[in-house]
């Protein structure tokens, strides 16, 4: 082969091999989430803040002196795309850890691919039953605050605590499995507490007008309405109830947009149960996230960045405990013996063992709008802890 052709072939080979070389010099992490699509409002902020955390991590010198390379895929909230993403991330990008930030219908296909590729999969928005003790799935982990059953149990307990008289409870869910499951569980718990469940509305996602559902709910005359659902269902149900003249108390489960929405609605009878500290608490870490977000010129408000940031903290800790060269098997071992200090974003650390991929203790904080002070205030002092058994 003439020398000049040999040089060209060598150069082309170097270019072709470059990603592989880069992959060997970095921890490769995959992310598949609903960056676009109808439900993107809930999931895109998580992806953005996870990416921000990884950027900050690399700026600090990476983990164990090696950078983290993040490969992002948009599954638009579609299960088939999520499965294809997971396959690509594992087989082509050689990801040693994958993150799901998407709707619950994408969980099963991504979990199947993670199992096939023997790569740990982390959920960062809502925890599925598969991560709960005592027999969690080998490859599935969850750092999200949300877990429908525990949240609903705590919500009903809170309503019971605040009410001196017998309670008439209305429930509202979106017609998706995870939301329905949470609200069905709330109904069972409420009955065991002697609370009367007067109505339960399961509302389909594409709903042009929430008033017919709210009318039915209002006609049952509830004192409290509790909703565990994507934010669109929670807020539109509340607003429709208010338009109909209902003056009772509404307990929302806090998801990324909730803090800003409590400020927008200025509804003195609206309460929120949250697994994350609101940015209104102004913790030192909140300031750090605000500063990082300000410099990065992000699309989404800083109040929506907690979940992605916590997922980033989990990733950092897991990679710190993974010796070089990293493999998915080593990351999996690290994740099965992990403790992450959430620095106040949660009431306590996230701790995982082989028999518990959720956490050993779950913490909740309650907030409400104070009409007199015109600000968000804690509705209950401190964190309320639940032992996870």
């Amino acid at each position: 082969m003439p020398k000049k052709y040999a040089l060209v072939v060598a150069a082309l080979s170097a270019i072709a091999l470059a990603p592989g070389v880069m992959a060997q010099d970095a921890y490769v992490v995959g992310l598949s989430g609903a960056l676009t699509g109808p439900q993107a409002g809930t999931y895109a902020p998580v992806m953005e803040s996870f990416k921000l955390y990884v950027d900050q991590l690399n700026r600090r010198g990476g983990v164990n002196g090696k950078p983290v390379r993040l490969v992002v895929q948009d599954n638009q909230g579609e299960p088939s795309k999520a499965a294809a993403d997971a396959k690509k991330l594992i087989s082509q990008d050689n990801a040693i850890f994958i993150l799901n930030a998407s709707v619950s219908s994408t969980y099963a296909p991504m979990a199947a691919e993670a199992k096939r590729g023997r790569v740990p999969l982390l959920y960062s928005v809502v925890c599925p039953v598969a991560v709960f003790p005592p027999n969690p799935d080998e490859f599935q982990f969850c750092s999200a605050a949300g877990s429908a059953n525990y949240d609903s149990e705590m919500a009903v307990r809170y309503i019971k605590e605040l009410s001196r008289n017998p309670v008439r409870l209305g429930l509202a869910a979106m017609a998706i499995p995870v939301s329905r499951g949470g609200i069905d569980h709330a109904e069972e718990v409420a009955k065991s507490f002697g609370i009367t469940v007067v109505d339960k509305q399961i509302i389909p996602p594409p709903t042009p007008d929430y008033t017919p559902y709210a009318s039915k709910l209002k006609s049952a005359e509830p004192d409290w309405v509790y909703s565990w659902a994507p934010w669109v269902t929670q807020v539109k149900t509340l607003e429709a109830l208010r338009k109909l003249g209902w003056n009772g108390k509404f307990l929302a489960y806090a998801v990324p947009p909730t803090e800003d929405e409590v400020i927008r609605l200025k509804d003195g009878e609206m309460h929120a149960v949250s697994g994350n500290a609101f940015f209104n608490d102004n913790l030192p870490l909140h300031k750090e996230i605000r500063d990082a977000a300000g410099k990065a010129n992000l699309t989404y408000p800083v109040t929506q960045l907690s979940e992605g940031w916590i997922a980033g903290m989990v990733l950092e800790q897991a990679l710190k405990n993974t010796s070089w060269p990293p493999t998915a098997e080593k990351v999996l071992a690290a994740m099965n013996d992990l403790s992450v200090d959430t620095k106040g974003l949660r009431g306590g650390p996230i701790e995982w063992t082989k028999t518990n991929h959720f956490r050993t203790k779950q913490y909740y904080r309650f907030y409400r709008w104070d009409s007199a002070k015109q600000t968000i205030v804690p509705a209950k002092e401190g964190w309320t802890m639940v032992e996870i058994k």
Binding site: L35, P38, P206, P208, D209, E239, R264
Partner: protein
């Protein structure tokens, strides 16, 4: 009484959306499956003009409405015009691609955050108390009025104006209409403009009543059965189809199971298609032609 108000509001929403499907189908035989996305674009245009011209809310609304019309004309000029003379199926597939593109574009331009055009305009949406303690939000009441005005204007336009008659002629026999000197591209562009204007108006009013997010595209698709039940080439059919779907939906929510509200439009659609495949008020010849 509240039940009746809920039915009228829902019927008005479906009617305002479905008239856009009918306009385009009647003139060009194309099922516009990007109608929900065009609604979304209309609502986002209002959010943008409201953010820019917050001090002049009426100007912002008017500008958004005009921009909505222009978007429709542009969709025809830049995209659908090239489908003229091709198979209808190709044009329908083209609208599906347009919808996917618009969904992506809205996220890129406005992000996926929930938006509140009402706040950007500096308006509020009080609840009005009607007879029998029934209530309706101000925007819902305006939506009912807007739907009535849109339908009256469309009936008048198609029945008594020169361009309206040209539009009907182009829909009935495009070749003959063309030979008689009617500018088909002008007529089609106008139909797309008017259809997008009504879709945008529906999107704006729905987003003013609650909020604006990506789920609006699915609302656009939910109104599709209303247009089919009435007959795809009949404006009066769209109105009555919307009323039938709204009555079925609201009554099921109230008396049976709210979950059924999601499937009942399609159940009614199937029932009508079995009995009258061309819809309650559609023309049989249209179906044969398709």
């Amino acid at each position: 009484m509240q039940l009746a108000v809920n039915i009228v509001v829902l019927a008005a929403i479906y009617a305002l959306i479905s008239c856009g499907y009918v306009l385009i189908y009647r003139v060009s035989r194309v099922l516009n499956l990007a109608h929900g996305e065009l609604m979304l674009v209309g609502a986002y245009l209002l959010y943008s003009t409201a953010s820019l011209l917050g001090g002049n809310p009426l100007t912002a609304v008017a500008m958004a409405a005009v921009l909505g019309l222009l978007v429709g004309v542009l969709v025809y000029v830049l995209l659908m015009r090239r489908m003229t003379g091709e198979m209808v199926l190709a044009a329908v597939l083209c609208t599906i691609a347009l919808g996917v593109m618009l969904r992506g574009a809205t996220v890129l331009i406005w992000s996926a955050q929930v938006r509140h055009p009402m706040e950007a305009l500096g308006w509020s949406n009080p609840s009005l108390v009607l007879f029998g303690d029934a209530r309706i939000s101000l925007i819902s009441a305006i939506l009912i009025g807007a739907t009535a005005v849109v339908y009256a204007a469309l009936f008048g336009f198609l029945g008594f104006t020169r361009w309206g008659i040209r539009m009907r002629a182009a829909g009935q026999n495009p070749l003959l209409a063309s030979q008689r000197g009617i500018q088909l591209h002008g007529v089609y562009a106008l139909a797309w403009g008017l259809s997008t204007f009504t879709a945008g108006l529906a999107g704006m009013l729905i987003s003013l009543d609650s909020s604006l997010d990506g789920t609006m595209t699915m609302i656009g698709l939910k109104a599709f059965p209303a247009a089919l039940v009435g007959g795809l080439d009949s404006l009066a059919g769209a109105l009555i189809g919307s009323a039938i779907i709204a009555i079925a939906e609201v009554l099921l929510i109230q008396f049976v199971n709210p979950l059924l509200s999601d499937v009942v439009p399609f159940f009614v659609l199937l029932a009508v298609l079995v009995i009258r495949p061309w819809g309650l008020f559609g023309s049989k010849e249209e179906l044969d032609r398709v």
